[in-house]
C-alpha cells in the first residue's frame, strides 16, 4: 500500500469517526458585570491607601471594573467555568497588578485581563456529590471574616436531603508564590512577607456541614485547617465554628461564631500560637417598602503583640469582608472595586491585629424604579494596644439610585465618618501607630455609580 492510499484511508476513517461521534450539545452561557465609580473624597485617592490627614485635600477619580464569565456547559452535570476581570482607572494607572499600566491611558493600549476563576464543575455519576476543581471562589461560614476568596483547589459538595456537606482542599500559596499574602499578619510577625524561596507552602482544608431542620431553621458547623509547611515540618492553625440561620416572623437572623487555635508561620514556623475568636449576628426585618438591616460583629484582638496571638486571623489580609455592615468608610463596602479600602489604610478588617467591634443599622427600600438606603454604624477596635483610644468612629451613609433597566442602575452615594479618638484625637498615639501632633479631618466619600450585571 503506497503512502497516498494510506493517507486516503486514514482520512476517510477519520472523517467517518468524526461523523459517527454523537454531537455534544454544548451550551454557551455568559455572565458578566460592569461597574464604574466616579469618586470625590478626601480619603480615597484611587490607590490602596486610606488618606487620613489634617486639612486633607479632596481627590477626584473614576475607576471601572468589568467581569466576563463564560461557561461551557456540556450538560447539566458538567461544565467548565471561566471568569475574567478587567480593572481600569480612568487616565491609566500602574500598579502591582498592572506594572505597565491598566489600559486607562491614552490609546488604551495595555494588557489588563486578569484570571478570576477557571474550574471544572461536575457531578460525580450515581452519587449526590458535585465537585469543583480549579481556581474557584470560596466563601466561609463567618460572613467573610475568615476568607472570601478565589483559590486553586478541589471542593466536593454532597446533598443528602436536608443535609449538605462540603469538603474542600486549597493550595493557597507555595514557594513560587510572589503574592504578598501576609504582609501584615495581624500584628504578629512571621519574619517575612513572602514564602521562602526554597520551600514553604500553605494549604487550607475546609469542612462545612449544614442541616436544614425546617424551612425556617438551618444550623451548621465548620472546621477549617490551615497547614503551614516549611520543608518537612508542618504546623496547623484551626478554626472551628457554629452558624445558624432562622426566620422568626418577619425577622431573618443569621449568626456565626468561630474559635481559632493552633500555630502558624509559613516562613519559620516560630509563631507562638493563636487563640482567638469572632462572632457576628445579622438581622433583616421586612418593613414598609423595604427592610431594616442590623448587624453586629466582634473579632478578638491582640493586646500586646507578645505571647499567644489573640487576634482573629483571616487567611489573608485582602480577602476578608463583612458586607452586612453596609458601610463605606468604617468597613469596606462589598460593592467597592479596584481600590477597596477602609479607615486604617488597608482591607484588613482586624486593623493589624487590633480586632474589631462594630454595630451597624440601616434601612433599604424601593419606590418603583428608585432604590435607596441609609445606614449608620459605629466601630472600635477590640484591643487598642498602645493607642490613646479604641474608637474608630461613627459613619453615616446614604444611597439613592434608579433602575434604568432590570439589570442596570445608576446611583449616588454619600458617606461621612466622625472619627473616634483612636484616629481623631490631637497629640496622642493613633491606632495606626502615628503621633502626628494634630487631629485628622473627618473622612468623607461621594460616588456616582453605574452598575450592570447579567
Amino acid at each position: 500500500m503506497n503512502f497516498k492510499k494510506t493517507v486516503a484511508i486514514v482520512t476517510a476513517a477519520g472523517a467517518l469517526a468524526a461523523i459517527s461521534v454523537p454531537a455534544m450539545a454544548l451550551e454557551n452561557e455568559f455572565h458578566g458585570m460592569y461597574r464604574a465609580f466616579g469618586y470625590m473624597s478626601n480619603a480615597f485617592s484611587g490607590g490602596s491607601g486610606f488618606n487620613l490627614a489634617a486639612d486633607s485635600a479632596t481627590d477626584k477619580y473614576v475607576e471601572q471594573r468589568a467581569r466576563l464569565m463564560y461557561i461551557a456547559k456540556a450538560n447539566d452535570s458538567l461544565k467548565l467555568v471561566t471568569h475574567f476581570e478587567l480593572d481600569t482607572k480612568f487616565g491609566g494607572s500602574s500598579s502591582t497588578k498592572y506594572p505597565i499600566g491598566d489600559g486607562g491611558g491614552l490609546d488604551a493600549d495595555r494588557i489588563s485581563l486578569e484570571t478570576k476563576n477557571v474550574y471544572l464543575d461536575f457531578k460525580i455519576p450515581s452519587t449526590p456529590v458535585g465537585a469543583k476543581v480549579g481556581i474557584q471562589p470560596f466563601n466561609d461560614a463567618f460572613q467573610g471574616t475568615f476568607g472570601n476568596f478565589d483559590a486553586t483547589g478541589a471542593v466536593f459538595t454532597g446533598k443528602f436531603d436536608a443535609l449538605t456537606a462540603t469538603y474542600g482542599y486549597f493550595t493557597v500559596g507555595n514557594s513560587n508564590t510572589s503574592f504578598d499574602y501576609k504582609a501584615t499578619p495581624n500584628g504578629i510577625a512571621d519574619s517575612g512577607t513572602n514564602f521562602p524561596s526554597n520551600s514553604g507552602s500553605q494549604d487550607l482544608n475546609v469542612l462545612d456541614v449544614k442541616y436544614a431542620i425546617s424551612k425556617n431553621l438551618t444550623v451548621g458547623t465548620s472546621y477549617y485547617m490551615q497547614l503551614d509547611k516549611v520543608g518537612t515540618a508542618t504546623v496547623a492553625k484551626n478554626t472551628v465554628g457554629l452558624n445558624a440561620a432562622t426566620k422568626v416572623g418577619p425577622v431573618d437572623l443569621a449568626a456565626s461564631f468561630g474559635l481559632q487555635f493552633g500555630k502558624s508561620g509559613v516562613t519559620t514556623l516560630t509563631n507562638t500560637g493563636t487563640t482567638a475568636f469572632g462572632g457576628s449576628v445579622v438581622g433583616k426585618i421586612a418593613a414598609g417598602p423595604g427592610k431594616v438591616n442590623v448587624s453586629a460583629l466582634y473579632l478578638s484582638g491582640d493586646k500586646d503583640a507578645a505571647g499567644y496571638n489573640h487576634a482573629w486571623q483571616s487567611i489573608g489580609t485582602s480577602v476578608n469582608y463583612f458586607n452586612a455592615a453596609n458601610m463605606w468608610l468604617l468597613v469596606r463596602n462589598g460593592a467597592e472595586i479596584n481600590t477597596a479600602t477602609q479607615i486604617g489604610g488597608s482591607s484588613d478588617i482586624t486593623r493589624g491585629g487590633h480586632g474589631l467591634m462594630g454595630v451597624f443599622a440601616g434601612y433599604e427600600g424601593t419606590a418603583g424604579k428608585v432604590f435607596y438606603n441609609a445606614n449608620v454604624g459605629y466601630a472600635r477596635v477590640a484591643e487598642k494596644q498602645a493607642a490613646y483610644s479604641s474608637s474608630i468612629g461613627t459613619e453615616l451613609n446614604a444611597t439613592v439610585g434608579y433602575k434604568l433597566y432590570d439589570n442596570m442602575s445608576a446611583s449616588f452615594t454619600g458617606a461621612y465618618a466622625i472619627l473616634g479618638d483612636g484616629y481623631g484625637k490631637e497629640n496622642v498615639m493613633l491606632l495606626n501607630g502615628k503621633n502626628v501632633g494634630k487631629s485628622y479631618d473627618n473622612p468623607f466619600m461621594t460616588n456616582i455609580a453605574l452598575n450592570y450585571a447579567f
Binding site: 450539545a25 471562589p137 424551612k215 425556617n216 438551618t218 443569621a254 432590570d406
Partner: protein, 490 residues
C-alpha cells in the same frame, strides 16, 4: 373483472361512510357552567363530556370544536340544596338561538339520567327543526362571531402540526391593547352569559377582567413598593367564590396573598402566607392547589404538597417528592396507556426531562422549551464578591399543563438576546407533546406570536388556548401593554 368490482366496492365504502357523516347534524357542546358545587372545573368538564356523548346518535354527531359545528350547545348546572336544574341552549354557529330545554332533579343520583333526558329533548328539537341534517349555511366558527376589538380574525393557520398535518384555520380572538405589561394570567369562572373571568398580574398590579366580546376591566389592585408577584392561580373557594392565589416576594421572602371577587371588586382575604402557590391539574386531573416553602439557604424547600386554606391558615397534606430540578413551578405528571405515572420537569436550561415512578431519568428533550422574563431576587451575600450582584436572580418558567388525555402542553419563548440574567424574548408558541412510550412526540404547536409570550392557559373544557403577549415592555415612562389571544385547538 371480479377483482375490479371488489376493488371498486372497497373504494366506494369510505365514500358511503363520508356521506353518512355528512348527513348528520354536527353539534358541539361548548361548555356547561356549574354553580353551587365544589370542584367546579371538574364538574363543568364532566357535564360537557356526558352531554356530548348522549347527544351522539345516527342523526347527530358531537364534534370537538365550534369550527366544525352546525349547532353549538351551552348550558348551566345550578344546584340549590339537593335540587338541581340543567338548562341548555342551542344556537347556530352564527349565534341564532334555535331551542332551549331544561331538566330538574332532586338528588345527585338523578344527575346522569337527567343529562340523558336533556340530550333526548335537545335531539328531538334539533331533528324536528332541521330534519335535513347538516346546516350548510351556518358553518362559521363561533369564535368568528365574537366581535374582536382592536383587531379582526387572524388569517392563516392557528395550529401547525408536525410533518404535513396542518389543520384548517379557525379564527383567533384578539383582545384590545391592555394597559400594563402583564407577566401572569389566571382564568376564573365561566359565567352564565358565556363570558369568563380573567385575572392578569404585573410586577405589583392585579387586574380583573371579564372576557366576553371584549376584555372589560372591572377591578384592579396595586401592591405596595417592595412587593413582586411571581405567580397567579385560581381555585374554587367556598361560597361559590374563586380564590385568587397571588404568590409574592417581599424583601426576599414569601409573603403571598389570597384575593377574591366581591361585587365585581378585588378584595384581599389573606396575606403574609409563607408559601409558593400553584393551582394545576397534576396528571391532567383534577385541579388542586399546591404549595411549597422557601428555605434559608435554598429557594425551594422540601416537598410539594396539596394545600387547603382556612382564613389565613394554610394546611398541607399529601406531600410528594420531585426529581432533580423539580419545584412547584417546574413539574407536572402524566399517565401512559398502562396507567404508569411519569413526572416531567423543565430544567433550568429549558430541556424537558421525563422521570419514571422511582424518579429515575428516562428521557430528555433535544429542543429547549419554556423561557420567562419573570424573576425574583434574594440576597446572595456569599456570591456578591464573585457576581458583583448583591442579589441572585431566580427565574420563573412556563407552566407545564397536562390534559386529561395525557397531552403535555408547554410554552416556548425564543429571542435573540438571552444572556445570563438579561433576557428579552421576541416570540413564543405553545407546544403539545405526547408520550409515545419512550419519548415525547410533538402533536401540534401554535403559530409563533409576534411578541414575548409571558404566560398561556389551555382551557380544556372549551378546547381553547389563551395566550398572553407583551406588546410593549415597561420602560422609564410607560408601564407597557399586553394583549390576549384566544385560539381554538383543532
Amino acid at each position: 373483472m371480479k377483482k375490479i368490482i371488489i376493488l371498486l366496492t372497497m373504494l366506494l365504502i369510505p365514500f358511503t361512510a363520508i356521506s353518512s357523516v355528512a348527513s348528520q347534524m354536527r353539534v358541539f357542546v361548548a361548555g356547561m357552567s356549574a354553580t353551587g358545587v365544589q370542584n367546579r372545573d371538574e364538574m363543568q368538564l364532566t357535564l360537557q363530556t356526558l352531554l356530548a356523548s348522549r347527544l351522539n346518535s345516527d342523526k347527530i354527531i358531537a364534534v370537538g370544536s365550534t369550527g366544525e359545528a352546525d349547532i353549538v350547545v351551552s348550558g348551566t348546572y345550578v344546584s340549590i340544596g339537593k335540587i338541581f336544574s340543567l338548562d341548555a341552549i342551542a344556537k347556530t354557529a352564527a349565534g341564532k338561538i334555535v331551542t332551549r330545554e331544561f331538566v330538574q332533579g332532586e338528588s345527585q343520583d338523578e344527575l346522569i339520567p337527567a343529562i340523558g333526558k336533556l340530550a333526548e329533548k335537545l335531539s328531538a328539537d334539533l331533528i324536528k327543526l332541521y330534519p335535513a341534517g347538516q346546516l350548510a349555511a351556518v358553518t362559521q366558527p363561533s369564535l368568528a362571531t365574537v366581535p374582536a376589538v382592536g383587531a379582526g380574525p387572524v388569517p392563516g393557520s392557528d395550529v401547525i402540526k408536525p410533518k404535513s398535518q396542518v389543520t384548517n384555520s379557525a379564527a383567533a380572538w384578539l383582545s384590545k391593547r391592555l394597559a400594563g405589561a402583564a407577566n401572569l394570567m389566571a382564568v376564573g369562572k365561566l359565567l352564565s352569559d358565556g363570558s369568563r373571568e380573567i385575572f392578569l398580574a404585573g410586577d405589583r398590579r392585579i387586574a380583573y377582567y371579564r372576557q366576553g366580546s371584549d376584555m372589560k376591566l372591572l377591578s384592579e389592585a396595586e401592591l405596595g413598593n417592595g412587593y413582586k408577584i411571581i405567580s397567579l392561580d385560581t381555585v374554587d373557594g367556598n361560597n361559590d367564590s374563586v380564590d385568587i392565589y397571588v404568590t409574592i416576594i417581599r424583601a426576599g421572602e414569601l409573603s403571598s396573598q389570597v384575593w377574591q371577587i366581591k361585587a365585581d371588586k378585588l378584595v384581599r382575604v389573606a396575606a403574609d402566607l409563607p408559601y409558593y402557590f400553584r393551582a394545576i391539574k397534576v396528571a391532567g386531573w383534577p385541579k388542586k392547589l399546591y404549595a411549597q416553602a422557601m428555605g434559608r439557604d435554598v429557594d425551594y424547600y422540601g416537598d410539594v404538597a396539596e394545600a387547603t386554606r382556612s382564613g389565613s391558615v394554610i394546611t398541607l397534606k399529601n406531600p410528594f417528592k420531585l426529581p432533580r430540578y423539580g419545584t412547584i413551578y417546574t413539574f407536572n405528571k402524566f399517565h401512559d396507556r398502562d396507567g404508569k405515572t411519569f413526572t416531567v420537569v423543565i430544567n433550568p436550561d429549558g430541556y424537558l426531562v421525563v422521570y419514571d415512578e422511582e424518579l429515575k431519568e428516562l428521557w430528555r428533550s433535544n429542543d429547549k422549551f419554556g423561557g420567562s422574563e419573570l424573576y425574583f431576587q434574594r440576597e446572595d451575600d456569599a456570591n456578591f464578591r464573585v457576581t458583583g450582584d448583591k442579589y441572585r436572580w431566580i427565574f420563573m418558567n412556563q407552566c407545564i399543563q397536562v390534559t386529561s388525555k395525557g397531552e403535555i402542553l408547554i410554552g416556548k419563548n425564543e429571542g435573540f438576546w438571552v444572556l445570563g440574567n438579561a433576557r428579552s424574548y421576541k416570540r413564543g408558541a405553545v407546544y403539545c407533546l405526547l408520550w409515545n412510550g419512550s419519548s415525547l412526540d410533538e402533536k401540534w404547536r401554535t403559530q409563533e406570536t409576534q411578541n414575548y409570550m409571558p404566560d398561556y392557559f389551555y382551557d380544556e373544557a372549551h378546547n381553547e388556548l389563551l395566550i398572553l403577549q407583551t406588546v410593549q415592555r415597561p420602560g422609564i415612562t410607560t408601564n407597557g401593554a399586553s394583549s390576549l389571544t384566544i385560539r381554538k385547538v383543532e
